[in-house]
Symmetry: C2
Subunit: 111 residues, 2 copies
């Protein structure tokens, strides 16, 4: 195993990444879900339009309704958003708890 001193090419420890098991999988899944520009735009739209319905997001984005539905499913399953049935429509919101969890994990493991 090559072990060189930090001064040779590395900065001093910048993060611990101390996370494991279930939490790590959950975190990676959240990373994966948000690693897509369309889905990031959906999150931003939900900040500006909390409680809007799927159709509003479909109108906003330049992609088909079926595709939007798929993206919403990915974001839901990763925990970024939650959807509440409102009649035949579905009202979407950011999932504040999970987002807070994500932020806390990042601040913890990346310092």
């Amino acid at each position: 195993m090559t072990e060189i001193t930090a001064s040779a090419c590395c900065s001093p420890t910048c993060c611990s990444l101390d996370i494991s098991g279930v939490d790590q999988e959950r975190l990676v899944a959240m990373f994966k879900a948000l690693g897509n520009p369309i889905r990031f735009e959906i999150l931003k739209f939900l900040v500006a339009h909390p409680g809007c319905i799927t159709g509003d997001i479909v109108d906003y984005l330049p992609i088909a309704q079926a595709t939007v539905s798929q993206h919403l499913k990915v974001l839901r399953e990763a925990g970024w958003i939650s959807g509440v049935t409102e009649g035949p429509a579905r009202c979407y919101c950011l999932n504040a708890e999970n987002i807070a969890w994500f932020r806390e994990q990042i601040t913890q493991i990346m310092s």
Copy 2:
């Protein structure tokens, strides 16, 4: 546009996601790169073995050398790591500056 009160299904604003243009693309690229369990493991390995060479990571992971090299390229291009040529080998480290940038972006836009 359906606009309902926050109380109906949404928590109070939990994040601004106030980011745009180049920064947003950079952030999404970092999300995408780390949204893979192998690449997350590589980062964790680099925390424990700063300055190790590609071969050490290859020995550690249960995948082929060519595949590891691809993953390292993804992490490099996203800014998570940096590699310094050390003779015929390449010494890898976490990219502290970019990681700090990521952490700061998250704390800023997710609160």
